[in-house]
Amino acid sequence: MATESTRTRRGVDIVVRSIIPVVLALIVAAIILLALGKNPLYFYGDVFANGILGGNWQNSLVVMTPMLLIAVGLIVVFRGQLWNLGYDGQYLLGAVFVGGLGPQLAPIVGDALTYLITAVLAILVGAVWTLLPAWLKARFGTNEVITTLVMSSIGVGATSLLIGYVFQDPSQRTPQTRTFNTSDMLPYIPGTTIHIGFIVAIVVALAFQFILSRTSFGLRLDIYGASPKAARHVGINSRGMTIVLFLISGGLIGLAAAMDILGHVGYVRNNWNPAYGDTIMPFVFLARLSPLAAIPFVAFYAIFATGGTVASIDSGLSTDFLMVIVALILVFMTLTEYIGTKRDLGQSYLPDELRDAFRRPFDTLRTRSAK
């Protein structure tokens, strides 16, 4: 029986467990900053100033748009215990079709139709790029971690090829696609400088929250994630499920690319790779694979990334310092989860074998002294 008080306690527990890793990571990052001879308080203040203050929160929300869509795309497959790690390839291929076709399409068919066509195209491209790993996984059980990573590398290369040989802007010397006219890009939400892609992302997150928690598809997905064998037993087509989950994931990542290019970037440059997926991954887990909970976490990281990029440059650091913080969050997240679970079960924090290993020297000491 879940009474009101135990439920609130569990809720508090979950919130604490989600926030502790972030706090610990920020503390350790501050120590690293000190070791590098930088002032961590200045750094974090700079992050806050450039991520939120003034109009900067609007930039952060623009950056958040593709991140949130990718987060939802990852949540869907991760819930099925499948690993789609090919997000970079799916994202870039989707983006290059939007950047390659959109700017020429807009004057012919009008803006609204351009948005629709390119977004659908990007969704399709992203989804198709997951098809081979999904099929191999469903048919032969081939490890999808490896196939998606390989397909991602092929996708990144194919993007570069497409820019070089198909979508090259003839008026530019650098390898890049044509650029959208500012007037052809996604309109702003009135009164702000945030494009409406942000609303799309929020709506998608809420829609998937509903689908995953309130529909039979969500229930079937959770059964499949818990145990594909059990799912087959209760009549769920687990092969079909594998493929559907991958297609949804790839499609959402394609949509993220479309929104980012249409609303924010406007073109695709060769060797451009924002690699959102890697940095978003910890927050997807901290949100416990819930699209709704992902919104604040992704917002936090978007602010941190926007402010942190400027702050790193101000402190004379490489912007890759943000990756260190993300890695720290991942490590502390798994650690916090582990300690929390062990505490709930009332067990020791050490596994049996390790505890024995620690105890053994003392035991030998004791037997020796007894003699």
Partner: protein
């Protein structure tokens, strides 16, 4: 085309090939030990970068390539400690930790490089051992038999690992820990110790693989210099199912595609460079499609071992 096949050309071709083979071979050997013991280490990219950076820093500080390689090994092993403590000992999720190691390796080395070497990069010239007699053979003398001593040491290390894995009790324990840890436990072996050794050795080999790349192939460290080589190593490992000689064959094939791409550009055949860099991945995908049925992955790969759990 035939006038291209001069001894000098062949010599350059073989040298390029070796430069492509060695980092991948070393990293794949490290990953093979880990995978045989039941640990799928996705952090290999991060460990290689750490090895490459530490190797570079130590070589500049000490002036010795050999100390640099040792430093690279230490760098790789330091990164693998994350996997050792959090996965092998505490049983936390390998894939998440692997990604964490990769991101941490990329981030830390990039930040440190920017701090220490961004203005005024020092390049390193590899030493070469002219093997008496053999190094005078045209074509292969100038390439194979004039490599650095480190090259020979790495080859020996790979052969030692191969024979240890295949022929000793230690190798059997490693494989048991990856196939059926409970039987290793029942036989009186320690799954945790065995896996710990495998993880550390994985870090060691990834580290020297990275250091080989920065010291002997490129001659300098640049951020993100591995460019996905670690992921190729993971696939090579998976395809070779624990047999180091197959790892060697696939690595040589990879090096061959790299050298072929460079040679074709020299010969004036215009192939998009993107295609050449994609080639290994395309080959891997084709191989996976053809041999999909026979790619065997141990059921306990990636699962932490808890005694008594079913």
């Amino acid at each position: 085309m035939s006038d291209l096949l001069t001894p000098l050309f062949i010599s350059t071709f073989i040298a390029t090939c070796i430069a492509g083979v060695m980092p991948l071979l070393l990293a794949s050997v490290g990953e093979t030990i880990g995978e045989q013991a039941g640990i799928l280490n996705l952090g290999i990219e991060g460990m290689m970068l750490a090895g490459a950076y530490v190797g570079y820093a130590v070589t500049i500080a000490s002036g010795s390539l050999w100390l640099g390689m040792l430093g690279g090994a230490a760098g790789g092993m330091a990164m693998s400690l994350i996997m050792l403590v959090l996965n092998t000992w505490l049983g936390l999720n390998q894939i998440v930790l692997g990604i964490a190691i990769t991101i941490a390796g990329q981030g830390i080395t990039s930040v440190l490089y920017q701090e220490n070497y961004a203005n005024g990069q020092v390049s390193i010239t590899p030493d070469s051992w002219m093997i008496p007699g053999l190094s005078r053979i045209p074509a292969i003398g100038g390439s194979i038999f004039s490599q650095s001593g480190i090259f020979w040491l790495c080859i020996v290390l790979a052969i030692v690992v191969a024979s240890f894995l295949a022929r000793t009790n230690w190798g059997l324990s490693i494989r048991a820990a990856g196939q059926k840890p409970s039987s290793l436990d029942a036989a009186g072996g320690s799954v945790m110790n065995t896996r710990s050794q495998a993880v550390l050795l994985g870090g060691f080999f990834s580290g020297i693989g990275g250091a080989y790349l920065s010291l002997l192939v490129v001659g300098a460290f640049t951020p993100f210099m591995t460019q996905g080589l670690g992921y190729i190593a993971i696939v090579v490992t998976m395809l070779s199912r624990g047999r180091v000689w197959i790892v060697a064959i696939i690595s040589v094939l990879y090096g061959f595609t790299q050298a072929l791409g460079a040679a074709m550009q020299l010969a004036g055949v215009s192939i998009p460079p993107q295609l050449i860099s994609m080639l290994p991945y395309l080959v891997i995908m084709a191989v996976l499609l053809i041999f999909a049925r026979s790619v065997y992955v141990s059921p306990v790969l990636g699962a932490p071992y808890t005694r008594g759990a079913r």
